[in-house]
Amino acid sequence: MSLDLDQALQTYIAEARELLQDMEDSLLRLEADPSDADTIGAIFRAAHTIKGSAGLFGLDPIVSFTHIVEDVLDRVRDGDVVIEANLIAVLLESGDHMLHLVDVVAAQGGQLDAEAIARESGLRIRLQDYQANQDSSKSNNVVQVETEASFQSSGGGFVETDNWHISLRFGENVMRDGMDPLSFLRYLSTLGEIVSITTMFDALPPADKMDAESCYLGFEIDFKSDADKATIAGVFEFAREGSLIHILPPHSKLTEYIDLIRSFPENETRLGEILVSTGALTQQELEDGLSEQQTSTRSDGSTTPLGEILVDQRSVEHEVVQAALDKQTQSKDSKSKENRYIRVHADKLDELINMVGELVIAGAGVSLLAQRVSDNGLQEATSVMSGLVEEIRDGALRLRMVPIGETFSRFQRVVRDVGRELGKDIELVITGAETELDKTVVEKIGDPLMHLVRNAMDHGIESASIRQAVGKPAKGTLRLNAYHDSGSIVIEIVDDGGGLNRDRILQKARERGLIAPNVTPPDSEIYNMIFEAGFSTAEAITNLSGRGVGMDVVKRNITALRGTVSLDSAVGQGTTVSIRLPLTLAIIDGFLVGVGKSSYIVPLDMVQECIELSEKDRQETRERSYLNLRGEVLPFVKLRDHFEVESIGGSRRENVVVVSCAGQKAGLVVDELMGEFQTVIKPLGKIFSTLRGISGSTILGSGEVALILDVPSLVHQAVNQESQKVSTRQLSHSVM
């Protein structure tokens, strides 16, 4: 396969997968609303396109199976087959099988294994029930050519010439229909040699009656070719309507020629002369033929039997056209809200974003230099440029943003199938499908989501009988929701099940030594215990069996994406798992701070405010790890201590950057506030992976490296330190 075609095949594979996903979504939609004509149309189109394109690549196994599916869908569209649960089930499975076919046949160039073949034959049998009777009228695309049936009047022998003879009288409308008779002749001459050609324009009316857009031309052609009759007839197939086309093979019967002469509008003698002059007939053949025909046909003068047949044939076509016109007015124009896309290879986008990242860094360098030389003109110019660079950055990142809806809607099928498996009736409600996030994040969030959804269905939502017993609707509801929140996307998995068993978790956590026996943390903390590694077992939390299994993996996956996961639950009412993820993994708006000689970046969207640490506060911070922020308790982390940075000069002023994350606030104590800075995130090497409080690194315009602070973990640390101290203090009080 050529390189180009191979590329086209890749396009096909991606396209087919997408269409199959659409088909599945539409089928599920159809289950809810079986009469939705638009959806039925979309499903049909998907199958239609998959089949049509597969044919282009000679992917016969796909064509042959999809053809059956398309057939059934066509009948559904025409209202001959009614949508019902079984049909949707078969179609869903057929879609799965088509996906398998695409993967195996198109992507790997392989063949189905025995299991898949067995599955396919099973599906074929089930689909058969919905197909029309097999003898459905197949259209005949072959041009109407002379019937081979010989004339009863067996007068005359065969003509001598070994050329084909082609007689053409084009219909009046061929040129209006966009077809140029000359084009057919040009194509004909690629199939053989036009030995002779006579242009017939006897039909051309007087100038005042002649319509310049109507065709009045005809041709008598002697043609030498090894092509078969169907091929030669095929040349004129598009002009068949309204045209008279006669193709006589070499050595045809003389009678056929004579009848040909009779069937055309021109004067017999003239046509006869033409045939003789071009060598199609000899003079003798013509004379013999004409006289014999005269004696053997009924002597009613100017009868032109074949002509009549052809006229009849034309009137038939007229009716067909009329029927088509009638049908056409009934058919509604299909509407669709599908968007238009350019398919771009993800690598190209990544490359672009990388380059933009470098551009941002270089731009930052220029800005820093401009500030240093304090040239107003230069500063103005760089600020305009940074504005543009920022827009380019946002634009480039937006290119990689995709709505999460596609990921969500994949779960329709999961919920449906798992629900059946578990014998639970569960409805999936999707909200916020249009919320966008970076494609790289989307790709990685699928697995954790799958885990959470399955868990919620399996262990969260109760069986119908239990639900009814506690007065809930029998049908369970699972909600997937997404929204943007200060530079993050929040994804929620909400079930209306029984909720977590707080006491069991607490008990288990104590057994494991995760919580001190005499401490009772807030409920939210207890619930989030289930994200600890290997936390739960079936006997520990019966109504939750298994929910803990793999939850630590979920958390690890999400943490790896610089995200956080938390869980909230209310007994009897359900559980909400919230995943908070950064919108993109590539670039953030940072806030540059200095500690000693080192620079750190705080993600700007987490910065609430900056305050100067007064002398009084400094005194206090030596004794306790919280500040009084306008009457509010603000736990803080001294970055100098945390990262063990050498201090330079004792009495420098200190500042506090107030950050917030997931509803918790904390202060970061730093030396210097250096302002906003666009930050291209460079991942840290593996050796830094154990470093707490750092999520990545970046390069400053000056070429120095700055570390990006992992604010969630710092906030967590600050808050924990504080609450532990508080609780130990409380403890010591109570002991005393």
């Binding site: 040129m175 242009t199 100038a207 310049a212 857009e213 065709c215």
Partner: protein, 110 residues
């Protein structure tokens, strides 16, 4: 106008420029027929005809036939490549009876 005309010693010289196709056929027919109705001999320069299809060919045939009916002569000259191709394909050069100039290169280029 795609057709321009001038008079040369009682002979009308017409010059057709651009496409002679179905898109231009209707206008061209009307204009050309107006000229043909004038009782004088006539020559049509086809050197600037860029494209010709069946519709254009029909116009030329019509002009030739009507000239004969009016008893005037019609000569086609300077056939462009596009015109020659069509006349050649349809074997109509003898019908028009005009001398046709083919350069060797062009003939080989076919």
């Amino acid at each position: 106008m795609p057709i321009s005309s001038r008079n040369n010693n009682g002979q009308s010289l017409l010059h057709i420029e651009g496409d002679m196709t179905i898109y231009t056929a209707a206008d061209m027919k009307d204009e050309l027929m107006n000229h043909i109705a004038q009782p004088c001999d006539r020559e049509i320069d086809l050197s600037e005809v860029s494209e010709m299809d069946s519709a254009g060919l029909q116009i030329l045939i019509l002009a030739k036939r009507d000239s004969e009916r009016h008893g005037t002569s019609l000569r086609l000259t300077g056939h462009s490549r596009a015109v020659l191709d069509v006349l050649d394909m349809c074997n109509l050069a003898p019908y028009f009876g005009d001398p046709v100039v083919l350069s060797c290169n062009e003939k080989k280029g076919q």
